[in-house]
């Protein structure tokens, strides 16, 4: 109740922290997808080479 009488608190620091983490996690996941994809393609090439022999 008293909250409503106060001026709006400055919580922008928390907002920034929140969004930095949100974007960071999304980016990390994206990067992990790319890295795994690349590794698997390399593996596929390797095994395809071996298969030909």
């Amino acid at each position: 109740m008293l909250f409503l009488l106060d001026p709006t608190p400055d919580t922008s620091g928390y907002m920034a922290a929140g969004y930095i983490i949100i974007f960071a996690i999304m980016l990390i996941y994206l990067v992990s997808l790319i890295v795994r994809s690349r590794n698997l393609k390399q593996d596929l090439d390797t095994y395809q080479e071996l298969d030909k022999k």
Partner: protein
């Protein structure tokens, strides 16, 4: 492995564009909420991420049922993909929520039914992956995964309804409002627009990630088969 289909390339670009627009709306278009200040903006991506978390689990259960009926491996690949994405976004929702909670409720965490059940959701899907890891036979692994996903997803509506049935300090955004809940707020039209657009953007992102992740799963399967053949 066939090259990335054109539709998927377009979807990738569309996703990035939508997320950018949503971000602009969140930071510049949506008004500042008077009681909580800027931190309230976390709400838009926090709820969207939570939505994707739940969607991921629902899809995992549905494709699980499809697998049980058809025994087609493609459904199992889709299930794992959906679980993985669901896990990532539930984590985003939990952390985002905690950061929002800190200045508003004065605590990072509270043992509130909603928060507990969402954490449970995350644990269930970690358990899902552990279950799969403990099983060698691919068909059995897929079957058990499907069964556990079905059992697990039933907690998704429990998560949603817990906000209705139990007194909680977590804000009720859609319908009903407990005047005692700290952090409850009514949405102005601009807020509503930003909220709905974020939901939309995240849903498109989910589809994009799912498609990409399924391709990854198929690639992994091809590598496994070839590996078995070559090391015969």
């Amino acid at each position: 492995m066939e090259p990335k289909p054109r539709a998927l390339r377009i979807l990738d670009i569309l996703t990035i564009a939508l997320i950018l627009v949503a971000s602009v709306m969140v930071f510049f278009y949506a008004p500042m909420e008077v009681v909580m200040g800027q931190v309230q903006r976390i709400f838009y991506f926090h709820t969207s991420a939570a939505w994707i978390g739940m969607l991921g689990f629902i899809v995992a259960a549905l494709v699980g049922i499809a697998y049980l009926r058809t025994h087609d491996q493609k459904w199992d690949i889709a299930a794992v993909a959906s679980v993985e994405i669901g896990m990532v976004f539930t984590l985003i929702a939990i952390i985002g929520g905690a950061i929002w909670a800190r200045p508003i409720w004065n605590t990072w965490w509270t043992w509130d039914p909603r928060l507990i059940t969402v954490t449970i959701m995350e644990l269930i899907y970690a358990a899902y992956l552990m279950l799969r890891n403990g099983i060698e036979d691919p068909d059995r692994r897929a079957r058990f995964g499907a069964v556990y996903a079905i059992v697990g997803v039933i907690t998704v509506p429990l998560t949603f309804f817990s906000i209705r049935i139990f007194r909680t300090i977590h804000p009720v955004v859609i319908g009903g409002s407990d005047p005692n809940a700290t952090g409850a707020f009514d949405m102005t039209p601009r807020m509503l627009q930003t909220f709905l657009f974020s939901l939309f953007a995240f849903t498109v992102m989910y589809v994009d990630l799912l498609w990409n992740r399924i391709r990854l799963g198929r690639l992994a399967e091809m590598v496994e088969e070839l590996k078995l053949k070559v090391t015969q």
